[in-house]
């Protein structure tokens, strides 16, 4: 179980995260909020990609605040980047095999990697030998990124806005990946999202604004409140972009 205690993060005198405290008791937590609210920074701090200015991170009661990224990975944290990283020369199969784990035989590694790639809508036969370079589109890279994080099947998987770069219609068909990860593992998922479909299947929704947790509550409860408010709003999708709508609403 993940626990954040008094996490603060400042850069150039600006407070990005202000005294964040929360315990991830539930298995599916959706983090949402406006641009610049600190969502990505929060996930990066959990993974160790960014060091907090102060505060403490506990995983199963153990302090991991000072652990390097790879040791957090070994302890069971996975991370899907919002902007997937490209590699010249490395193939999809190289990283997928790394993701599914060294303990499997080569044939088992391949079979599992193929299953997961198929799950994100990519035909393994066509993609396993592809290089993770500029020849893959942004959408393809994003699907592979999601597949790699899911393939690790760890106790905590962090997804930084998986819908970014994927069109809405394609993303709808990817939601089952998160559902399957939830179903097939006993691990927890923390996912940054603005998608109503994701928010509607979350156990808890964490709403971050200006570096502060404004709300952390039962997902269904929040979503039903939103439903009630829907009649007075033109917006159908909960996004930070709703501020552009004439009758946009805030989650409070």
């Amino acid at each position: 179980m993940l626990q954040l205690k008094n996490i603060c993060f400042s850069v150039d005198g600006k407070d990005i995260l202000k005294d964040i405290n929360f315990t991830a008791e539930d298995r599916f937590i959706a983090v949402t909020g406006p641009n610049g609210s600190g969502k990505s920074t929060l996930l990066k701090i959990i993974m160790g990609l960014t060091e907090p200015t102060s505060g403490q991170i506990l995983l199963d009661g153990n302090d991991i605040t000072r652990l390097p990224v790879n040791e957090r990975a070994d302890k069971g944290i996975s991370f899907a980047f919002q902007q997937p990283v490209r590699f010249k020369g490395l193939k999809v199969s190289d990283l997928m095999k790394l993701a599914v784990g060294k303990n499997l035989k080569a044939s088992e590694q391949f079979a599992r990697a193929c299953d997961i790639l198929s799950g994100v809508g990519l035909c393994a036969k066509d993609y396993m030998d592809r290089e993770l370079n500029d020849t893959l589109s942004g959408g393809e890279m994003k699907r592979i990124e999601i597949a790699m994080a899911a393939a690790r099947g760890t106790k905590l998987t962090l997804f930084d806005e998986p819908e970014a770069g994927i069109d809405l219609w394609s993303f709808q068909s990817l939601i089952h990946v998160f559902e399957q990860l939830y179903r097939d593992t006993s691990g927890s998922i923390i996912i940054i999202s603005h998608q109503e479909r994701i928010l509607s299947i979350a156990d808890k929704i964490l709403y971050l604004k200006d570096g502060v947790i404004e709300r952390y509550d039962d997902g269904k409860k929040i979503m039903s409140e939103l439903e009630l408010n829907m009649h007075s709003s033109d917006c159908k999708v909960l996004t930070d972009k709703n501020t552009h709508c004439g009758k946009g609403r805030e989650l409070k």
Binding site: V69, N70, A73, V85, K88, L90, L98
Partner: protein, 306 residues
């Protein structure tokens, strides 16, 4: 009978655990130690100088020739000429390569000059790997020169690499292409310590419809130096592309020199060159998958030179 060092070098440069099938000529410490010819591929020792002629009959398909060279003693220096005469309508694979194990104080040096005359409509895949090892003070030196003449519609693919252990090298590749001939060159170099590598690749496209694609990848670690010069001459209605990518590490130095020359308005030539360090985000991505920073770096380099 080969000793363990010779066997190890042979495996490293030609991926051979035993004698290969097909035609082969294995040279060790200055002389030939094993040879096999086939009905379609003949290998003849040169009389006027060190080296062999490899003669491949027209129409030979799906056959291979292995010609590895190994040097397992320090103090050996040799200059070898290997000439390949490949008939028309062939489809063959040629595996070359040189491995040096230098355990003594004297330098070991192999200069190999390979000339290819590739007949009309033939396809040739050429794989050449250079490798050095040994704790001796003597330097491991290699200077390969590859000269290629491609007749009409002939296609050649070269996969050349020098992955560690060579202290000093000058690698020269020159190719001349006639009508509709094509050449693909994938060259890889890894240097470390105070090693010095200089590679010059020069392709002349003289026939209409000819084409070339050159991809050079280098990694310069520690205080090593690499210089890569790629020249493409377009003298006809042809297309040429060169990509020169390098990763620089530690105190390494890399000089990439592209040169395109067109003497025909129908020539289309492109050159891309990039030098940079390993991106921090690449390291972090692999670390999120459980690799240490060093393991991540090694995997990135391995992939880059794959």
């Amino acid at each position: 009978m080969m000793n363990e060092i010779q066997k190890s070098l042979l495996k490293e440069v030609a991926a051979l655990d035993a004698l290969p099938t097909g035609a082969y000529n294995i040279r060790s410490d200055g002389s030939g130690i094993a040879r096999n010819t086939t009905a379609n591929i003949d290998i003849i020792t040169k009389q006027d100088k060190q080296g062999i002629d490899i003669i491949i009959r027209p129409g030979t398909k799906n056959e291979s020739v292995h010609i590895p060279v190994i040097i397992s003693q320090s103090g050996i220096e040799e200059l070898v000429y290997n000439d390949f005469f490949i008939g028309e309508d062939c489809d063959v694979t040629i595996i070359a390569g040189c491995g040096i194990h230098c355990a003594g104080k004297d330098d070991s040096k192999h200069d190999g000059i390979h000339s290819f005359y590739v007949g009309k409509n033939s396809k040739v895949r050429y794989v050449e790997k250079h490798y050095g090892e040994g704790e001796g003070r003597g330097k491991r030196l290699m200077n390969p020169t590859t000269i290629i003449e491609l007749e009409e519609n002939a296609v050649m693919k070269l996969e050349t690499s020098q992955i560690g252990g060579i202290d000093d090298t000058l690698r020269i590749t020159k190719a001349v292409l006639k009508e509709n001939a094509g050449i693909i060159i994938h060259d890889k170099i890894l240097t470390a310590g105070t090693q010095h590598a200089n590679a010059e690749i020069h392709v002349e496209m003289n026939g209409d419809g000819s084409n070339c694609d050159i991809i050079s990848r280098g990694v310069a670690k520690e205080s090593s130096y690499q210089e890569v010069t790629i020249k493409i001459d377009g003298n006809a209605a042809c297309s040429g592309h060169a990509e020169c990518d390098s990763i620089i590490m530690d105190n390494g130095v890399i000089l990439a020199v592209p040169q395109l020359k067109a003497t025909n308005v129908e020539a289309s030539l492109i050159h891309e060159a990039a030098i940079g360090k390993i991106a921090g985000e690449q390291l972090l991505k692999l670390m999120t998958m459980g690799l240490t920073e060093k393991e991540a770096e090694e995997l990135i380099i391995k992939g880059f030179l794959q």
